[in-house]
């Protein structure tokens, strides 16, 4: 399995944006599982919004593609994770919630909260039976900030201000086993 490094996020030059640092697929039992490290770096504007109680929603999109010669690639599976990070003034804590299973995590620092979202371990993506040897497969991962979940007044700004362009590009690599 290749270990993948990527540094092409939109705001990389300014020091913010999300990048997928490592990503790999391993065979665990009868399914393929994804492990990835994601680097979340918030822009000043996003940090300010978070400090003021604006919750930020993050979507981790994961998809596997099957290559076809004369047609566009078919998507075998498309799944993902959704996180919410919010600041709690009363407890002076950052709370991360996995929207999938509803689990809550509290962190007294922002970096700890972001780190908790950064590591994806053994996330089941694809049944082993879906893999047919001889065909070509690719796995992709992308992290986006859900701008439509931002408070309404912030949305036009989020769509126009580069400070809010935090989402990563698709990181794709072939699945070879």
């Amino acid at each position: 399995m290749p270990v993948f490094c990527h540094a092409g996020a939109p705001g990389a030059a300014e020091g913010f944006g999300v990048t997928v640092k490592n990503a790999e697929m391993t065979l665990q039992g009868d399914s393929y599982a994804l492990s990835a490290d994601i680097d979340y770096r918030l822009s000043a504007r996003a940090k300010e919004a978070l400090q003021n109680g604006v919750p930020l929603y993050w979507d981790v999109h994961i998809k596997t593609l099957q290559h076809r010669d004369y047609f566009w690639d078919s998507t075998l599976s498309s799944t993902g994770l959704r996180y919410r990070i919010q600041y709690h003034a009363l407890l002076n804590m950052y709370r991360v919630r996995n929207e999938g299973d509803g689990e809550l995590y509290n962190f007294s620092t922002l970096s700890a909260a972001l780190d908790s979202m950064a590591a994806i371990r053994d996330f089941r993506v694809l049944e082993r039976s879906a893999y047919v040897p001889g065909k070509r497969y690719a796995v992709g991962i992308k992290v986006t900030l859900d701008r439509d979940a931002l408070p309404l007044p912030l949305r036009p700004i989020a769509y126009t201000n580069p400070q809010w362009y935090l989402s990563s590009d698709w990181t794709l690599w072939p699945l070879t086993k």
Binding site: L152, L154, I157
Partner: protein, 732 residues
């Protein structure tokens, strides 16, 4: 055309468009409410509305561009459209701008008024109060747990579980757990017997615990439940840790939660204040922009519809001004403009009808005029009309025939101007001019002049023309060529005289001749020689005179009786040769005959024609005496579409005097000592009976020739006389 029919009416499309715009704006406005389900679509709605505005802007721009082009081309109705659109835009824009300005003011002030320092502080204080309250509770639980931990010093692990149960119940904690130094669970007790695995502190907590030997913190267990986690160190031989989880009373938790929620909301709003203003302003601007653009666009369409009839009217008026009366404008609506268009259509109809009638009347008048002109042209009488200044206005074909002057070429000139070109007509023209100027009533006059065909006599009747006001506006003169009529009258009179004379005179002549011969016969022997001679001379004279008188009377009767006895085809050259054969023997006279090749035939009585030739040749011989030249030429001429054979006879004698030319063909006109004076009269009579004409060829004589011949009287002046005869030719 079919496309127009299936196209929905423009008003319906406009209504639908407006409905769509309103719906979009309403959706956008609803989406602005945070709680609305539409809020997820806010961005899309914003985008769609923005696109709608761009489309509308494009439509308005296209309309403005096309209007500007029309204005540049100065197309009909473009200026009116511009004025109306400008007025509408100004009228619509001004109140909208005012409302927009004040709305923005209110909006910004309203949003700013939500936030002020007092509320800020109150919010922070409330949060601090909540934190202090919770803090106090935490410290209290910490002290409590520390006290409890004293009872667990060096307690055996087997007893620990029992002790924990007691302590938990004593302290009111929901869970209590004893950890070894390595973090292993030694004993645990929970208010909920189902919880087998106790809540474990995370690494961060352990770190803090090892540093401070105690730990207290609020731990959100679930979304809306708070716990106070207290961990203290039990200082025994082997240090152990006691963790206790105390529930925060629901009421306090709720209150803290509420305070926090309010604070967070406030904080968020405060943070989003500028964004909020921006998004409200954006929505408001978008609403205004779309409404305005839609209104302007609709205004363009409506104004175009209103101006369309005016445009059509302007075009129609221009067309009518340039003479196209077949303008039919469509009546689009039953309003004032529709009425105007209808009136315009009626007006053009009337104009077209009137112009048709005028044209028809003009054609009618023209036809009448042409008809009258045709009649006038075909009159045998010559007609010349004059204007008030006695200038020729019109003249018909017959006038040309009579005068041999192309009178129509002299329209606009007076008769006196004609005199300069036609000197031979000077006298009659001058007298007509005089009559025109002087006569106030219908006048009549006979005028004689020498035309190219000989002497012509005209009967002129003039009628001055007066307008209805009695002003003299011109005159009409009618000419009749009465030459032939007068000649016929004269001939008839002379014929009658001759016939009677012959009858009355011839009767006594024979007895006179017989008596004279008898006297001679009886008395010749009885008288003396001298007397007998005298008798012979006297009776001879009587007999001779009687014979002469008989000849004269025969001539008269010849003249009186109709000469055209029989009609045959006569070969003129042959006849001429025949007649000349009788004269060629006469010495000293030369004959020259000249005729063109071809048939020179006439229909007539050969005896009469022969007599004509005899008379003319005799006449010539008498004129030239015993020495001279007689020329005869024959040729074909065409006159008034009829073929004539012209016989020209010239001698080189003394010629004819001017004063005789006019009367030379009248009976008893002679210059000779002997002669009845009937020779030429008979010639003329015969020629006219054959439908021909004879005249003296005046052109042959040089001017002044007459005076010369008269004064000198000598034979040496070979002036010569010429006669021209024209007889209708035989056509085969």
């Amino acid at each position: 055309m079919a496309f127009d029919k299936i196209k929905p009416p423009i008003s319906l499309s406009i209504l639908i468009l407006f409905g769509l715009i309103l719906l979009l704006l309403q959706l956008l406005s609803s989406a602005t409410q945070e709680s609305s389900e539409l809020s997820a679509m806010y961005s899309w709605l914003l985008l769609v509305n923005g696109l709608g505005s761009v489309v509308l802007l494009g439509l308005v721009g296209a309309n403005i561009y096309s209007l500007a082009r029309q204005l540049k081309k100065r197309e009909a109705g473009s200026r009116l459209t511009t004025r109306m659109v400008s007025l509408f835009v100004v009228l619509a824009l001004a109140p909208a701008a005012i409302v927009f300005y004040f709305s923005m003011q209110f909006l910004h002030q309203g949003i700013d008024s939500w936030f002020n320092v007092e509320i800020d502080r109150a919010m922070e204080d409330a949060l601090e109060l909540s934190q202090a309250s919770l803090d106090q509770r935490m410290r209290w639980h910490l002290r409590q747990t520390e006290q409890l931990s004293g009872k667990l010093v060096d307690v055996q692990e087997t007893l620990a579980t029992l002790e924990m149960e007691n302590l938990r119940e004593l302290s009111g904690a929901s869970e209590m757990t004893l950890f070894s130094r390595q973090g292993r669970i030694i004993a645990s007790s929970s208010i909920n017997p189902g919880d087998i695995l106790p809540s474990l502190p995370d690494e961060h907590t352990w770190l803090q615990l090892r540093q401070n030997s105690e730990f207290v913190a609020l731990a959100p267990v679930r979304e809306d439940e708070l716990m106070i986690r207290v961990i203290v160190t039990i200082k025994g031989k082997e240090p152990q840790y006691l963790q206790a989880l105390y529930p925060v009373p629901v009421r306090i938790a709720d209150l803290a939660d509420s305070v926090e929620f309010a604070f967070v909301r406030y904080q968020e709003m405060h943070f989003l204040r500028h964004s909020l203003k921006l998004s409200f302003s954006l929505a408001l601007s978008l609403v205004l922009l779309m409404s305005l653009l839609a209104a302007i666009w609709v205004a363009f369409i409506s104004i175009r519809n209103i101006v369309a009839p005016v445009k059509a009217l302007v075009k129609g008026t221009k067309a009518v001004a340039s003479g196209h009366y077949d303008q039919e404008l469509p009546v689009m609506a039953q309003d004032d403009l529709g009425f105007l268009v209808e009136s315009f259509n009626e007006m053009t109809h009337r104009i077209a009808r009137a112009s048709d009638e005028t044209r028809m009347a003009g054609i009618e008048v023209e036809n009448q005029r042409a008809y009258l002109e045709t009649i006038l042209a075909n009159l045998t009488a010559g007609v010349i009309s004059f204007d008030a200044e006695h200038k020729i206005r019109t003249a018909n074909q017959a006038a040309y025939r009579i005068f041999h002057i192309p009178v129509t070429q002299f329209v606009g000139r007076t008769l006196l101007e004609l005199v300069q070109n036609y000197a031979e007509l000077a006298e009659p023209l001058k007298s007509i001019q005089r009559l025109l100027e002087q006569a106030d009533d219908i006048w009549q006059q006979r005028i004689a002049f020498l035309g190219p065909n000989g002497r012509q006599e005209l009967l002129c009747r003039g009628t001055p023309l007066f307008s209805q006001e009695g002003q003299r506006v011109g005159a009409v003169v009618v000419f009749d060529d009465v030459t032939d009529l007068i000649q016929a009258q004269k001939n008839a009179a002379w014929g009658e005289v001759a016939r009677r004379l012959a009858h009355e005179i011839k009767n006594p002549l024979t007895p006179i001749q017989l008596s004279a011969e008898r006297l001679q016969h009886k008395l010749a022997d009885k008288l003396a020689e001298g007397d007998a001679d005298m008798l012979l001379r006297s009776t001879t004279t009587i007999v001779q005179q009687v014979v002469a008188m008989k000849e004269m009377v025969d001539d008269f009767s010849e003249y009186a009786k109709p000469s055209k006895k029989q009609t045959v085809d006569i070969d003129l050259p042959g006849l001429v040769q025949e007649v000349l054969a009788l004269y060629v023997l006469k010495s000293g006279v030369k004959f020259k005959v000249d005729y063109e090749a071809g048939l020179l035939m006439i229909k007539g009585d050969p005896v009469s024609i022969r007599q004509v030739l005899h008379n003319l040749i005799k006449n010539a011989l008498e004129a030239i005496g015993d020495k001279g030249l007689i020329e005869i030429s024959l040729h074909r001429v065409q006159k008034n579409n009829t073929d004539f054979i012209e016989i020209a006879l010239y001698d080189d004698g003394p010629g004819i005097k001017d004063d005789q030319i006019e009367q030379i063909f009248e009976p008893y006109v002679t210059t000779k000592a002997r002669g009845t004076g009937l020779g030429l009269a008979i010639v003329k009579k015969i020629i006219e009976e054959h439908g021909g004409a004879i005249w003296v060829d005046a052109s042959r004589r040089p001017p002044g020739a007459a005076e010369v011949s008269q004064s000198s009287g000598s034979r040496g002046d070979k002036v010569g006389a010429g006669f021209i005869i024209q007889l209708p030719a035989c056509n085969f």
